[in-house]
């Protein structure tokens, strides 16, 4: 008797699993950056349009495919057409790459979380130099939060060529991160279904706490006004639209096979249309919500730095001209400066290079995304809050929840096809397969804990999933609409759920979304070709800042291999299946 497919205990678990997967770190550290770069409030226009035109239809498509085929990505596409099971294989390969490097972020979050239980926070003070008369040189040139990130956490080498050794502290944290993920996926949907209750809801609790705290911080309104002031001229910039499309695309996690895997554990009659709309709306509103929090924190940090700068200038002027202590304030600074400049031109001109112009605008203008935002900018803001240990613990706990939620989806995308395959599951129980996958990913992930590990992380982050995913989703859409047949799929869905398919979805699936994806593909390819050699940012310890360097040849080869490994699966598997069929037909002919 065949084992029944495991199911979610209730539809809420499925929705929570999808939310926990879709709402990830990108909502927190990429969307605020895009908002800032492309016109603040006016970026919401392309974002919402792309959500309706591209995000919801493609999400519904993936959920419907999973729910209909009731198999992981490989099995689902084999059912559609044996030649297209390469799409499923490509999904699994991309998910495997993603899970390898994504869990390193969880390791970093663990590292910072464990270090948050100290007073003072280790990234708030610079360590002393050798003879204890001053601070460490690298820390002086950069800031204490940058020093803690680049030196204490990553111990980064000056370039990607210098590999260095594995950092044992970070390796331990990575091991712990993989153990936690294994604990959550150990029993399949049974354990995952309970864990997603927490990973989906706890980040919102923390975000609400941070929203209240952030809005009450001094200077938060500066950041919010700066962000939400719409710059309408950015709407004419094609990059804003392209970035809106890519953000929706990657934020929902389409093409990895995770959504297909989650939906395959659904009851056939569940209303995946409603679920698709709910999940995409919650994902987008979380992005906007998180960016409100981020910008109030930005505003606080910028105001703090601005006031610090003013204080330093006042101190310098007070000391040089022996003015009365406390005389110079922010309000009379400019006046007094002007006066002193005319009264003591020589002395003032000597001092002038040291008096930087303090500007709130330039502090707010520093747009940061990615790990820099999460681990440098946020920590800098947190160290200036009262009871900073509490805020730090809450923040990194939230990052952990977001990261683990996404990891659950990634590993589900890898494990579901493996456990569906009869060959493998007959030999090994579910726990052993999960354990093996985690072990292999953890072992390869140790590369990212070496001294040059962060550079390899950037390579994976920028190139492993971007181009391949666009291609995978394009082929998926074409496969369902044209190979399987849109009418056939429509009748399947109607039989399964009992609801008719709206014309809107049909138009989107068959026409608009594939066109959008093709245009995104063309944009990405032309961008790669036009940029010429690819460059990366390396940390220069002597200067205390990032410098741009070229990738060496073998790194470029690795990038090419990453992209090829997943995209080539599609034609290769198709070719392989074709050859196998020809061989079978060749064998069968003599018999018949």
């Amino acid at each position: 008797m065949e084992k029944a497919r495991p199911l979610w205990a209730n539809p809420l678990q499925f929705v929570f699993a999808c939310i926990s997967y879709a709402v990830g770190l990108g909502n927190v550290w990429r969307f605020p950056y895009l908002c800032q770069m492309y016109g603040g409030g006016s970026f919401l226009v392309p974002y919402i349009i792309m959500l309706i035109v591209e995000g919801m239809p493609l999400l519904y498509l993936e959920l419907a495919v999973g729910q209909r085929m009731r198999q992981g990505s490989i099995g689902a596409f084999r059912t559609i057409s044996p030649y297209l099971s390469g799409v499923g294989v490509a999904s699994v390969v991309v998910s495997f790459f993603l899970s390898m490097y994504y869990n390193v972020i969880n390791a970093w979050a663990f590292w910072y979380l464990f270090h948050s239980f100290q007073d003072p926070l280790p990234w708030s003070v610079c360590p002393l130099n050798g003879n204890r008369t001053g601070y460490d040189e690298e820390c002086e040139k950069a800031s204490s939060t940058q020093y803690f990130w680049y030196r204490k956490t990553l111990n980064i080498s000056p370039s990607i060529q210098e590999n260095g050794s594995v950092q044992w502290e970070l390796a331990l944290c990575l091991l712990l991160a993989w153990l936690v993920v294994y604990l959550c996926i150990l029993r399949g949907t049974e354990s995952t279904g309970k864990v997603v209750y927490f990973t989906a809801s706890l980040p919102y609790c923390v975000l609400i706490i941070y929203l209240v705290r952030g809005l009450t911080l001094h200077g938060a309104t500066n950041g919010l006004m700066y962000m939400f002031t719409p710059k309408m001229e950015q709407l004419a910039n094609p990059k804003a639209w392209i970035n809106g499309a890519t953000q929706i695309f990657f934020s929902l996690g389409l093409g990895f096979g995770s959504l297909i895997a989650f939906a395959s554990y659904n009851e056939p009659s569940s209303n995946c249309q409603k679920h698709a709309i709910i999940v995409s709306l919650i994902n987008s509103s979380t992005s906007i919500f998180a960016s409100i929090v981020t910008f109030s924190i930005y505003g606080f940090k910028a105001t703090f730095n601005y006031e610090n700068c003013l204080r330093k200038v006042s101190l310098l002027l007070t000391n040089t001209f022996d003015l009365e202590d406390g005389f110079l304030t922010a309000s009379n600074l400019e006046q007094v400066k002007g006066y002193l400049a005319s009264a003591y031109p020589s002395k003032y001109s000597e001092l002038f290079p040291h008096i930087r112009n303090c500007s709130l605008e330039s502090e707010l203008d520093t747009a940061v995304q990615g790990t820099g935002l999460a681990f440098i900018v946020y920590t800098e803001a947190i160290k200036n809050m009262e009871v900073s240990q509490l805020w730090s613990v809450l923040y990194f706990f939230m990052l952990l929840m977001l990261g683990i939620g996404s990891m659950l989806g990634n590993t589900a995308a890898i494990l579901t096809p493996l456990t569906d395959s009869k060959i493998i599951s007959s030999y090994l129980p579910k726990e052993a397969i999960s354990g093996l996958v985690c072990l292999v990913s953890c072992a390869i992930g140790m590369v990212f804990t070496t001294e040059a590990g962060n550079y390899w992380f950037d390579i994976f982050n920028d190139y492993a999933a971007t181009l391949s995913l666009l291609l995978i989703v394009l082929v998926e859409t074409i496969a369902v609409c044209y190979v399987y047949g849109l009418r056939r799929f429509e009748s399947d869905l109607k039989a399964m759920t009992g609801r008719a398919l709206s014309w809107y979805w049909k138009v989107m699936w068959a026409g608009v979304s594939p066109l959008l994806i093709v245009s995104l593909l063309i944009f990405y390819l032309s961008d790669y070709i036009l940029t010429g050699t690819l460059k990366y940012q390396a940390w220069e310890a002597s200067q205390g800042q990032l410098v741009t360097k070229d990738y060496p040849a073998y790194a470029l080869a690795a990038i090419g291999l990453l992209v090829a490994a997943s995209t080539m699966c599609i034609p290769l598997v198709a070719l392989g299946t074709f050859v196998l069929h020809r061989l079978k037909r060749g064998d069968a002919a003599p018999v018949a």
């Binding site: 001053g134 331990l172 153990l179 604990l183 022996d322 003015l323 406390g326 007094v336 002007g338 726990e431």
Partner: protein
């Protein structure tokens, strides 16, 4: 006149001094000079040290020194040939390019009524008052080598204490001299240092001043290295006496030793890591074991079901009026109790 010269008028927020010609003060004379010069002072001028509350930069850049006046520290003040007061323009204030004017404009004061002695003695003790950052070697040529043994001190009382800031007056200076003398007394050879050996000078509104420690003969100043090490040893006591810290009570040229961070023997993060690691390992082990147990139970069940069917075949039991026999003949494959609907209903 100021406007005519194109000079920038003072910012409006800066309070202006009373436009009188009261002798505005220099830092109080060292005690021994005060005694010797009482005759020179008219009772009204001494002690009437009102400190104007506007910022005044410290520039004694126009004091002409007589070289021989500097050479002998012991020379009595009166024997020093001084230029007449009108020629001495000790600008305590930034000088505006107004020649010979006697008007008290808010930002400079033409001091013509200074106690003469102070003109000589203060510059003798202290180097030409210019901010150390701008001090060039050439300016030091006319000064005694004692200038190298003087230290500049800078206090930021208002920054440190805010509303509770105390005013810097002569009593505070006395306390400071006492603390410096105390620090020097801790040095092996210098137990006999008295408060009177510590000389303060050029106190500004900032508050900043120079000080120097002389030896018992008052001829020479103590070497800078000794003073530096003495202050460094007792920095904490000095700070506490004034309720300030290393950043608000600065001794320029004396670097403070920064406190090293406390390093626990076992880093805290490893402890927390260990706890969470153990919890996760225990949870994984429990889940795996319970999974194995469940699978073993499932493997046992099909064999138990088979046993039950065998029993039924051996004994004829009656259950619900239906003997097991008819059931047995079918070997348990078809259950007559459940017939299909079609067979029971007569077809239409």
């Amino acid at each position: 006149m100021l406007a005519a010269r194109g000079a920038v008028p003072a910012p409006s927020g800066i309070p202006r001094p009373a436009a009188d010609h009261a002798p505005h003060c220099l830092p109080p004379l060292p005690e021994r000079f005060a005694r010797a010069t009482t005759s020179l002072f008219s009772p009204g001028t001494q002690g009437s040290c009102t400190r104007p509350s506007w910022p005044r930069p410290l520039t004694f850049s126009h004091v002409p020194y007589a070289a021989n006046a500097i050479s002998s520290f012991q020379a009595t003040p009166l024997s020093v040939p001084l230029p007449s007061p009108t020629q001495v323009q000790i600008s305590l204030w930034p000088r505006f390019p107004s020649a010979g004017a006697q008007t008290c404009s808010p930002f400079w004061l033409h001091i013509s009524c200074l106690p003469r002695t102070c003109i000589v003695t203060c510059p003798l003790l202290c180097p030409p008052p210019a901010p150390p950052s701008l001090l060039r070697p050439s300016e030091q040529q006319g000064t005694p080598t004692r200038a190298e043994n003087a230290f500049k001190v800078r206090l930021s009382i208002r920054t440190a204490l805010g509303d509770k800031a105390y005013a810097w007056d002569t009593n505070e200076e006395y306390l400071f001299k006492a603390m410096v003398a105390f620090s020097m007394r801790k040095v092996p050879n210098r137990e006999a240092t008295e408060i009177s050996h510590v000389l303060l000078c050029n106190v500004t509104q900032r508050v900043s001043f120079w000080f120097v420690v002389t030896d018992s003969s008052k001829n020479h100043t103590l070497p800078a290295v000794e003073v530096q090490s003495a202050i460094r040893m007792n920095r904490n006591r000095i700070n506490n006496a004034f309720s300030l810290n290393d950043q608000t009570l600065e001794f320029l040229k004396i670097p403070s030793t920064l406190a090293p961070p406390t390093d626990p023997s076992v880093p805290i993060w490893i402890i927390i890591f260990g706890v969470i690691f153990c919890i996760v390992i225990v949870a994984i082990t429990l889940l795996i074991l319970s999974g194995i147990r469940q699978r073993r139970r499932k493997n046992k069940e099909p064999s138990e079901v088979d046993d039950a069917e065998d029993k039924c075949e051996n004994m004829i039991t009656i259950e619900n009026g239906i003997p097991c026999d008819p059931l047995d003949t079918k070997g348990g494959h078809i259950n007559d109790a459940f017939m299909t609907e079609d067979e029971r209903l007569t077809p239409l």
